[in-house]
Amino acid sequence: MWTRKASFTFTGGISLILIGMMISNHQMMILGFAFVAFIVVNSWISGHGDVEVQRKLSADNLYKGDDLYVELLITNRSNRKTQLLEVYDNIPHEMKLRSGLNQMQLNLRPGESARIRYVLRCPLRGHYSIGPVSLRARNTFNLGVEEMYVDHHSDIVIFPQIKDIEEAFLRSRTPKMYTGATTLRTPGQGSEFYSLREYVPGDPFKNINWKAYARTGELMVNEKCRDAVTDLYILLDSRDVARIGTVLKNPLEMSCVSSASLAAFFIQRRDSVALAIYGDGLSYLPPDTGDKQYFKLLSALAGVTPKGNMPLQAVTNSLSGRFSRGSPVFIISSCEGDGTVPAAVRDLVGRGHEVTVLSPSSIDFERLVSRIPRMSYEVLKLERQNRLTTLAGSGAQVIDWMPDMDLSQALMQVRGY
């Protein structure tokens, strides 16, 4: 495609030829011919040949705030030079360049390679894709330009940040519930022997007791004692109202950080963690433990977006049947715009669950982006306090989480209710 310069040169050339003809002036005509010849000669060579692009990332998964190292290798596979080639690696706008540059102007010889190395900071959690790679081949004199994409994507998941949680606090309130793994006299997944039973199709071969098979002539498998883990249920509010505040500081972001941190803490103690995210719909991850569950939890949290308006009671109504008896439930919600919260909490407490409500203060988040008159702020704050007091009165532990407060510091408040 011609550039503006080429168009002007060509138009100018033709105009000069015509004017030169009109006034019988050779200089104008020859100048015009030279301009047109310049365009013609330069149009012979266009494009950039066969270019191969490879991208390497330092990690596929990162935590929010971490740095991602990217290396782009561009190789000229053709037998000719690429001419002036601009390479631009498209990065998600949420990511910030920390070092280096995601573009380069190059002119590769046949078989030559060039490396573009840059570092990205990932300040926001989510599922991202780096790419495609944009190529813009220019003529040396900028007369022709061709733009194209190399459809090469690299997917990356940015997990929410994990904050340290004070173990002491969590123990102090419910010493028996959070004691970590102990064996139960029930069959299940664990490490200690429980009993022998007959083999049924689908049982892993590694569980077959070969000595018993030799003795009895029938396939027998070892059954293990279930490790007593605490099933922790996290109910995360991702309704549209959770987006109040700035991109980096809003109730949803803080909720994700706290969910991830709680999950990390409990999974490290070999407890099982379940996650229910409600907003537009309900997404439920059943309780489990281990690295795989941890990865699933973080991946689910990475993809949370604020939308919808599902009430909490709808969530508890549909899930309470699946909750293990007496297991602790964490409700992480700003409790704004949902009148069903007290009823839902009462219901859960009534079923014998240890309910903790971690509530990011949405009014204070709103203050970060818009000016709220002092009187209005005071009134709204009072309303919020009343709401939280009602929840506390229902038997839940309630934590009022301010924007500038650390998670472990916020969890300390639970003593106050």
Partner: protein, 408 residues
Amino acid sequence: MASEVGVQSDVTMTGGVGARTLHLKLLRKQWQILALQIVATVALIAMYLEVVSTYVVGSIDHTMLFDSIELIIGDQLPLGDWLTGEGREGLGRFFVPLVLGLTIGGGMAFLAFQSPQTQQRIKLGFIITMIVMLVGRLIISWLTGMLFSFDLRLPSDSELQTLQWPLLMIMSLVILFIYLLPVIMGTRGIWGLSRRSIAWAIGFTLIFLGIHAILTFPLIKGQLGSYGAQFATLESQVSNPTIGLFGFKLVTQEQFNLIAIAILIMVFQESSYGVIRYLEYAYRLPESCKRDPEYVRQMDNLLNGHLRHTIGFLGLTAIATMVALGFHSVLLELVSNTTGSQWAGQVSESIELTLTYGLVISALMFLSLMAVMRFFIPWQRVWGLIQSRLPSNETAQDTGKEFAQIDI
């Protein structure tokens, strides 16, 4: 998939002594940049001399204007003849002013790289010098005259006479400046990296050519009377070509000079703008990239490519223009040689062909043919084949990490 990713290389950690970076201070001394700037300067000088020798010398040059002014005022102008070129013949009249123009342009470029404070001081000093030169003598003689005679009065005629010299001096300088404008602005643009100045230089040249073309149009020239007769005109009818390629006589000396002007304008434009474009790119790179050997290597490739293209493609453009202008004679010669008929000879002598439109049609036909040829001849492959046959001076490919750690 995640894998080992090396951090950005850094010449300060790998290159050792004399490691090159893309900092402007170093880049401005790089041979390719200097070569492009020198090419642009040579093209500017050659273009100016070519334009001047074709259109100005002996018809409307500055020495003739100075002579006329001296005749009117009945005195010599303050600028010495050695400086203005008066008394010399032909293009020699422009040699000293050309050097003066290059010096002024270079000085302006040098000034552009000084700190704003220094620039302000120099500009202020220049303005004060001009004011003092203009009215200094008048004020001193007038004030001292009033002081010694204890009289408050207007300046006398003899005191006002002191204004004549500075006014004539300034006028002479302004005239010389106008004549040298393309050279001054061009030099400032090339070495001071100013796009605007380059545009001024090219624009002024083109405007001059345009105005000259209009004034030499027979109808207007006739209206100008004896003044119009001064203008150097180019014949509308083409004489027999004397310059050519491969045995074909393509263009006349006159046409060749005009092609040279056009090509030199383009060489000047592309080289000077190219330098600015690459330096701008380097300037915008972040610090880490300026020290990255990959970026340095690619900058070398870009500059080498630009140099090659400037010579190669603009040379081809010149040849293509020459062939286009002489295409009708080539065709006729081919027909004459192959058929041996007299038809070619009759056509070549026809008035339609020697007049401009015959030439234009054949030239445009040739250029169209060349443009269409790109669809039939795989120039890319041909070019690649040539490049692959050329001796390669490939630099060693970067393998693996070049250093252990860098503070980011």
